[in-house]
């Protein structure tokens, strides 16, 4: 009887069938590729370990210190005290600030200009969205080439301006990271623009006509009607923007690889450089834990404040 009814459920309940078929693989993949590495990183972080040999918690007197040793919180102390790490944190903050103050307003402005359906607008949308489709590494290479003082656009400009020495912005201290910021804005504004366009297109035209009759100018319609109505979409895009800023990596490597003198690292490129390249997996794990905690804290706080009630 019991079995029969379960069987009946399986036959008739589409939702149940979907859950049973699709949820376990998703949980499995999430566990193996997301949860386990995160937990592992937590375990690795108090060790000095190259990543080779037995797992660090299997160390004992016999394996001696060839493979690694327990360092407790010293990985974190080292990290917080490291000037390159502080610079990476500062750079990541800069990415967030530029995203919020330049990228999103730019995306919003363009969205307001081209959200209506017309042939020209479709072309503009496509063009603005193109950088987003491009692979990060390709974007980095394009910018690296353009900003090269020997044969890129930079060489050309230097010549035009009659400079004695060609300008290598990627090799100069504040400019290297500004160039990365510019590349980031260029690559991702189209994505946010699309989110806003989708929101703007769902606003009923009678609402805007009503505002027009009420005497609203184009500007006032944007401020008083359109932006408040797409506010939920804006909060989503801010959320992506901040979490994305914490993960910037692929663009940094081809452009500067963190240089000159570690001035243009983001948190992830710092992690890669000082954790993996230098075979210091315990230290890299500590950076990973810091990143993870920062992201989770932001997500929780944001959801419970800005996005509350949405």
């Amino acid at each position: 009887m019991q079995q029969g009814s379960l069987w009946q459920k399986w036959i008739h309940d589409d939702r149940l069938r979907m859950i049973i078929i699709f949820v376990p693989p998703a949980i499995l993949v999430f566990t193996v590729f997301v949860m386990l590495p995160m937990i592992q990183a937590g375990f690795f972080s108090p060790w000095k370990w190259s990543g080779y040999g037995p797992a660090p918690w299997a160390f004992n007197e016999a394996t001696d210190a060839t493979f690694g040793r327990w360092v407790g919180e010293r990985n974190f102390d080292r990290m917080f005290g490291h000037s390159a790490f502080q610079q990476a944190v500062w750079n990541s903050i800069l990415v967030i600030v530029v995203s919020l103050l330049i990228q999103l307003p730019l995306a919003l402005m363009l969205a307001l200009m081209i959200y209506r359906t017309s042939r020209a607008n479709t072309i503009f949308r496509l063009v603005f969205f193109m950088p987003y489709i491009l692979a990060e590494v390709a974007t980095g290479l394009i910018f690296a080439f353009a900003l090269d003082g020997n044969y890129g656009l930079s060489a050309w400009f230097s010549q035009m301006l009659g400079l004695e020495e060609a300008w290598f912005p990627l090799a100069e201290k504040p400019w290297a990271f500004y160039a990365i910021l510019a590349a980031l804005v260029w690559k991702y504004f189209g994505f946010h623009m699309m989110i806003y366009i989708a929101g703007l297109q769902s606003i009923s035209s009678e609402l805007l006509e009503s505002a027009e009759i009420d005497g609203a100018t184009t500007w006032q319609k944007a401020i008083y009607i359109k932006i408040p109505l797409i506010w939920p979409a804006i909060t989503v895009s801010i959320f992506y923007s901040v979490l994305g800023a914490l993960q910037v990596f692929d663009l940094v490597m081809p452009m500067t690889a963190g240089g000159p003198s570690n001035s243009s690292h983001t948190l992830v490129s710092y992690l890669y450089n000082f954790g993996f390249i230098r075979l210091d997996v315990g230290f890299g794990s500590a950076v990973g834990v810091f990143l993870f905690v920062t992201g989770v804290v932001f997500a929780l706080v944001y959801r419970n404040t800005v996005q509350k009630g949405q």
Binding site: E206, E209, E212, D214, G215
Partner: protein, 334 residues
């Protein structure tokens, strides 16, 4: 005060001609209803008066002023949409006061005028709610409130009652008529419902395919329709329009008789027929009669009449209430 005058107005959407050539005057202070079947261009016409749609050709004057190319907000009009178009993120108070705020009206004056409008429409207790917390009828009132605070010369309504249930619609019809009496402003009201037109209008404008068919007071349209379209559109149940031998005997293309202008007798009369179906409404009985000479005829009888399917009946059109539509387009009454 504010008369609306349209002169040789044309409207094309690309190559589609929606309004070929239309001239119309809406008298100052009138309640004018534009009525016609769906898609005949009523909304287009109203939106051209509002300035939401450009005219392809012709001119529009409001209160003697040429507003053909003026912005909507400079025309002295207010509009109520079918969807109400309330700003969902604003409270009722903010919705009503939005236009005043944009016009940089001082805060206390906005409050005073919003309260005044809320008073007229009994919206007082709802002022701090958001539109989604209101019923359809309340939303409708807010939309009207939003239009009256601006003290427009002309009110424009585009099928404002069609999203309401029948009972509420009847009630709002009365309220709108009272509002018109109270404000004395010119009102232009679009509907496809001839009952709304008949009950509310001082002046009805009947349209078909972008062309005005007839303009007049409701009873003029009822008593003296100028063509078969108007004859069939105004009145419920519809006027009987009879062709064939009956028409040719009267030297007409078409003979029109309203259901309420046909007398029925069991034994003698002009047209013989058989009862197909009867609707007993208590106050009236509507009989659908099949007749060999007249075709299918609808007859409205006063009170409850005992009459059954298959009964043989004789019908006689009442003298003075027979509309003769001649071949040359002329109409006479006999």
């Amino acid at each position: 005060m504010a008369e609306v005058r349209m002169t040789n107005v044309k409207k094309n959407y690309g190559s589609v001609e929606v309004i070929p050539d239309l001239s119309l005057t809406i008298p100052d202070g009138s309640f004018s209803v534009l009525v016609g079947p769906s898609g005949c261009g009523k909304s287009t016409l109203l939106r051209m008066i509002a300035g939401l749609e450009e005219v392809t050709d012709g001119s529009i004057h409001i209160d003697g002023e040429d507003v053909t190319n003026a912005k909507p907000s400079d025309r002295g009009i207010a509009m109520v949409f079918q969807s109400y178009a309330l700003y969902p993120h604003m409270t009722v108070r903010q919705n009503i006061g939005f236009g005043l705020k944009l016009a940089k009206t001082p805060k206390d004056e906005i409050d005073r005028r919003v309260d005044e409008a809320a008073d007229i429409l009994q919206l007082g207790p709802l002022l701090d709610r958001k539109p989604r917390q209101l019923s359809g009828g309340q939303r409708q009132r807010v939309a009207i409130g939003r239009s009256i605070v601006r003290k427009p010369k002309v009110f424009l309504f585009d099928e404002p009652l069609s999203n309401l249930d029948a009972a509420l619609r009847t009630q709002m019809r009365v309220e709108l008529a009272e509002l018109h009496a109270k404000l004395g402003a010119t009102m232009v009201y679009v509907t496809h419902d001839q009952v709304e037109a008949m009950t509310m209008a001082d002046q009805i404008v009947i349209m078909k395919a972008g062309i005005i068919q007839q303009v007049g007071r409701p009873m003029d349209l009822y008593n003296a329709p100028e063509n078969p379209f108007v004859a069939g559109f105004i009145g419920s149940p519809k006027m009987n329009l009879i062709e064939g031998s009956i028409a040719s005997a009267r030297k007409s293309k078409l003979v029109g008789v309203r259901p309420e202008h046909i007398d029925v007798s069991p034994d003698a009369g002009e047209w013989e027929g058989t009862l197909r179906y009867a609707e007993h409404l208590g106050s009236d009985t509507v009989a659908y009669i099949d007749s060999e000479v007249a075709g299918s005829v609808t007859v409205r009888l006063q009170g409850e009449v005992a009459i059954n399917r298959g009964d043989k009946v004789f019908m006689t059109p009442r003298a003075g209430n027979i509309h003769l539509f001649r071949e040359n387009g002329a109409v006479e009454r006999a």
